[in-house]
């Protein structure tokens, strides 16, 4: 059984590309403003977005674009969709912010709404809540994007029939340096019924590497 990448999205360098084509750009060169402009552009319509930390905002928005365009949340049951994410900085950006709230004993203000984001898998939770995704989920930390591992692990999950669809990729945010690349993988047999050849990409490490570079 083979799998196919049916759609993908890259967000970096103040651009949003969908399936390799620039879909949104902004003059805002500050992440907070850029991601808000993108949220409005895509009519994301999810006020909880504004409570998220930057890592979750980036992962959530990238995923939301793909999931809405593809309609996978309607095609598959929640249990049939998995989320396998990775990054380099874990939640270090928010870790530093939480640490700042406890450094000064006279100005001590740790908060639950910030502390919860000191875990990288919260972004997977945010995506799951929004789209009722309930399948296998895990977050891996690598120094660099690791297409071989993402390929082999997602392939293993889909071969075991645990998953029919998987959202995978890389979402990294640290001190205004950001990069996200998410893709959807579906079984080629299923895809062939709805799409023409050329409308999907073979799920393979070298293709992931190529698409990651954007």
């Amino acid at each position: 059984m083979t799998n196919a990448i049916t759609t993908y999205c890259n967000i970096k360098d103040w651009l949003i590309k969908i399936d390799g084509q620039t879909d949104f750009s902004s003059d805002e060169k500050e992440f907070r403003k850029f991601i808000r402009a993108a949220y409005r552009n895509y009519k994301t319509g999810y006020p909880k977005f504004f409570k998220m930390d930057n890592l979750s905002k980036l992962g959530f928005l990238t995923a939301d674009i793909l999931i809405k365009r593809s309609g996978i949340a309607d095609t598959y049951a929640g249990e049939e969709i998995g989320i396998i994410l990775s990054n380099s900085s874990s939640s270090l950006d928010t870790d530093e912010k939480h640490q700042e709230t406890i450094n000064d004993k006279d100005n001590y203000f740790p908060s639950p709404s910030m502390f919860v984001y000191t875990l990288p898998n919260i972004m997977a939770g945010e995506i799951s809540i929004r789209h009722k995704i309930k399948g296998e989920n895990a977050v891996f930390i690598f120094e660099r994007f690791n297409p071989e591992f993402l390929y082999s692990y997602i392939t293993e999950l889909m071969a075991g029939n645990k998953l029919k669809c998987c959202l995978g990729g890389w979402v990294d945010y640290y001190q205004d340096h950001y990069e996200s690349f998410l893709f959807l993988v579906e079984q080629t047999e299923t895809v062939k019924r709805g799409k023409k050849a050329g409308e999907y990409i073979i799920f393979a490490p070298k293709n992931l590497e190529k698409l990651f570079k954007g």
Partner: protein
């Protein structure tokens, strides 16, 4: 309804025959109860908790119960394995190195063989280095979890790049599930899973802000439970496709595992237990067993009001309400990313010794559903065990360990 569908079908037995088996080998754990498995089990067996009221202003401005490891003992244990020329290593890294060294000594596996992978499960890694009041000379990149893993990996000269799983409180169980899958797929022959987290002001202040810590040692599944207790530790488990390399008398195999998401709330467990139910159902389904075949459940049991209630509901829904269950949080606290490995290692000891340990802190049944919380030490055959975990982000995981049948 699905219980009937779980009966071992021809398909399942054919499928398992062609797949590689995954054997659980030696474990090692470092907690407040001790640096060896025997010390830990002896305390647990006799009901002695490692949770002590801690008065340490560098952690919190009031006394609170915690399961802490003496830093002097960590240094001493580390000095026994490492030369002065090596390092320096952080407090957490030293615990990992001591623990991994022990499982390697107990096994006949050369980590330099190219067929071995290290999996590090952690929520926060070297987070103590982030505290500006903590004097240290470590480079800032030591805060990256991949860097911590690389340091540990290099110490043992493992040629394969390590894998890091940071998935909140299910990190350890996910590490075991991922490790088992990587062996089954043939990618690696041996996997070392080391789960670890340390207790810091960073973590204590966060849980305090959630008001989820109890002022007393935690009471899992109890009517009076009012929050969790934090702990720290490292647990390392070795898995292999080849039983003879593990130098274990018994044969325990990992036969099922699954993770899931509640898709409900980022910091509160689902009220219905549906997410955990899905993970348990899928894990048992993969084994081809019926729920009644499970002998023992090592529960997550954090002793927060919501977690334990959610867990009870999921267990009832999965048809496991008659299966004896315990939580170890009353002995060693919640060790976060280490909880899955440490508690699995204790569960494996339960199977090897055919002993069930009581749930420290539990006195009066305090969750809905008639689940069977173990409240006294018991000798009985423990052939199949389910380990469950749940965490922030709505994540859940379950894994099944089974004593392998005698093969002709």
């Amino acid at each position: 309804m699905w219980i009937k569908q779980w009966k071992r079908s021809n398909f399942v037995s054919h499928f398992t025959e062609v797949m590689r088996k995954v054997y659980a080998g030696a474990g090692s754990m470092i907690t407040s109860l001790g640096f060896t498995i025997d010390e830990n089990i002896e305390h647990i067996k006799t009901g002695q908790t490692g949770l002590k009221i801690t008065d340490d202003p560098s952690l919190w401005n009031k006394p609170f119960p915690a399961s802490l490891i003496d830093s002097g003992k960590i240094k001493e244990a580390f000095s026994h394995i490492s030369g002065a020329s090596e390092g320096p290593f952080t407090r957490l890294e030293q615990m990992h190195l001591v623990s991994i060294q022990e499982v390697l000594e107990k096994s006949n596996i050369d980590p330099r063989d190219g067929k071995t992978l290290l999996i590090l499960s952690t929520t926060k890694g070297n987070i103590d280095l982030l505290d500006p009041s903590y004097p240290n000379d470590f480079a800032k990149d030591r805060l990256y979890l991949w860097k911590e893993a690389a340091i540990i990996n290099d110490y043992f000269h493992i040629p394969n790049r390590p894998l890091v799983i940071s998935n909140a409180c299910i990190s350890g169980v996910v590490g075991i599930i991922v490790g088992a899958r990587l062996i089954r797929s043939g990618r690696y022959d041996h996997i070392i899973i080391s789960g670890g987290d340390i207790l810091t002001e960073f973590v204590v202040s966060g849980f305090m802000s959630f008001q989820s810590l109890s002022s007393q040692p935690c009471k899992p599944f109890d009517a009076d439970r009012d929050g969790l207790s934090l702990g720290e530790g490292v647990g390392t488990l070795i898995l292999s496709a080849f039983h003879d390399r593990l130098e274990m008398e018994d044969k325990i195999v990992i036969t099922g595992g699954s993770s899931s998401n509640d898709a409900n709330h980022i910091s509160g467990p689902s009220r219905t237990g549906e997410g955990l139910y899905i993970a348990i159902k899928n894990a048992i389904q993969e084994t081809g067993l019926s729920p009644q075949d499970i002998d023992y459940i090592s529960a997550h049991g954090t002793a927060t009001d919501y977690n334990d209630e959610m867990e009870a509901k999921a267990i009832v829904r999965a048809g496991l309400q008659e299966i004896p269950l315990n939580s170890l949080k009353g002995y060693i606290g919640h060790t976060l990313g280490a909880a899955g490995t440490i508690e699995s290692i204790v569960a494996l000891e339960s199977m090897r010794r055919n002993e069930l340990y009581k749930t420290a802190g539990f006195r009066e049944h305090g969750v809905s559903g008639d689940i069977k919380v173990i409240n006294k030490f018991e000798k009985r055959n423990v052939n199949r065990c389910l380990k469950a975990a749940s965490g922030f982000g709505g994540c859940n995981a379950a894994v099944v360990f089974e004593k392998a049948k005698v093969e002709s």
